[in-house]
Amino acid sequence: MTEPTRATVRQRLYAFLIAGLGGLAASAVSFSMAVYEAAHPPETPAVAAGQQIDTGRWFVTLRSARIGTISPTGVPPSNPKQLIMVDLDVVNRSAMPNNLLGKVVVPAPLAAPAGAVPEIPTTYLDRDKYFANHINPNMPERVTMAWTWPQDMPVPETLTVIVKGEIYKLRDNLYGATGWYDGDPVATVELPVERVP
C-alpha cells in the first residue's frame, strides 16, 4: 500500500480552476455552435413532383395540388370553405399503423409559427373516397390531404410544400421508450395549384 497523500490547498485550487475553465470553454463552444447552426440552416433540397421522398417513417410522393370547396368524398359541405388539397402516394415504413401524415407534409404558407399548434389536415383514402384513418405498414396507398385555406389569404399559382423528416429513437431521453421524433425538413416540392369547384 502506498502512503495516502493529501493534496495541498494550492493543488486543490488548481484542480478547481482547471475544471471550471474547462466547463466554461465547453459551454462556450456548444453555445457558439448552436448560434452558428441557427444562422446557417442547412439548405433543404427542392424535389420535383412525382419523385419519391424518404422521410424516415414514410415514403411520400407528391403528385398534384388543387384548391376547391368539395372534399374528395364528393359531398358538398354545408358551410363552404376553401380547401387546399394535395394528392400523394404514401408508404408507411414503420412497424405500426398510424395516421400522422400531417407531421410530415405541410404547405409552406400554412406552416405554424414556432410554438403554435398547426392545423391537423384531413386525409382521404382515394381507394374509398372516404376518410383515411390509419395507414398500414408496407401498403402503398394514394391519399389526398386537405387543409382549410384562410379566406383572406391569396391563392398562389404554385404551392410550396415542406416535407419533414422523422427520426427513430430506440430509447428516448425521458422513459427510454422507442418512438418517432420530429426531424429537420428533408425536401420542398413546388406544385402548380389547379382550381376546381
Binding site: 412497424a95 381507394r127 372516404y130 384513418n133 398500414n136 401498403m139 396507398e141 421508450a177
Partner: protein
C-alpha cells in the same frame, strides 16, 4: 506508477460494465408490455380476465360489404383477412378494444377501420361473464404478412401489464379467394361471411 495504472484499469472496467448494462437493459416497451398468453387455432386461450378462441380464417383479394341493402366494394393493395372466433369475459363485463395482426417480421396491422360500423367487430362487443359471444375480426395486410401471422387481442392498447392473448393463425395463403362478402343480417346471427364453405 502502479496507482495510476490501477486507476486507469478501474476506469476502463467501469466503462465496460456501463456499456454492457446499456446494451442489455430491457426496453421500456418490453418492461411495460402486456402479459402474453399464446395458443393455436380452435383452442380456448384463457387469461385472468377473458378467454378467446379462433376457429375460422379466410383470405381474399377483395371484400364486399353488404349492409341495409347496399353493397360497397373494398379493394386493397394487399389482401383481406377475415377471422372469426368466440370471446368470453370471465369475471366482469368487458370489451376487447384492441386487436392486431402480428406478422412474422413483427410488424403490426391494426383491425381495419375502413368498413362501416354497421358490421360490428370485436372492439364494439360487450362481453358478459359466462356468455360466450361470436367475434369478427377483419384485417388488411400485404400478402407476405399473412403466412405465420398471429392475432393479438387485449382489453386496451393503452394498458401496460394487462393480459393479452396471442393466437397463431395458420392462414392458408394457397386458398386465397378472389372475393368474399360480409353481410349484415337484420335478424338472427349478426353477420354472414359469403360464399359459405
Amino acid at each position: 506508477m502502479i496507482g495510476t495504472l490501477r486507476t486507469a484499469l478501474a476506469l476502463l472496467f467501469a466503462a465496460a460494465v456501463l456499456y454492457g448494462l446499456q446494451h442489455t437493459r430491457p426496453r421500456y416497451s418490453q418492461i411495460t408490455s402486456p402479459i402474453v398468453t399464446t395458443g393455436g387455432m380452435n383452442e380456448r386461450v384463457q387469461t385472468g380476465n377473458f378467454a378467446l378462441s379462433l376457429d375460422s380464417v379466410r383470405v381474399a383479394r377483395a371484400l364486399d360489404v353488404e349492409t341495409f341493402g347496399k353493397t360497397k366494394a373494398y379493394t386493397t393493395p394487399g389482401v383481406w383477412v377475415v377471422v372469426e372466433g368466440t370471446a368470453e369475459a370471465r369475471h366482469e363485463t368487458l370489451s376487447l378494444t384492441s386487436a392486431d395482426w402480428i406478422s412474422t417480421a413483427g410488424v403490426r396491422y391494426a383491425l381495419t377501420d375502413r368498413i362501416p360500423a354497421t358490421i360490428e367487430m370485436l372492439p364494439g362487443d360487450v362481453n358478459q361473464p359466462g356468455l360466450p359471444r361470436r367475434a369478427l375480426l377483419v384485417f388488411e395486410m400485404p400478402q407476405e404478412a399473412v403466412a405465420g401471422g398471429s392475432v393479438a387481442v387485449t382489453r386496451s392498447k393503452l394498458s401496460p401489464l394487462d393480459d393479452e392473448v396471442q393466437i397463431a393463425v395458420d392462414a392458408d395463403t394457397d386458398r386465397t379467394e378472389p372475393k368474399i362478402t360480409l353481410r349484415r343480417n337484420n335478424e338472427g346471427f349478426p353477420w354472414t361471411v359469403l360464399p359459405q364453405r
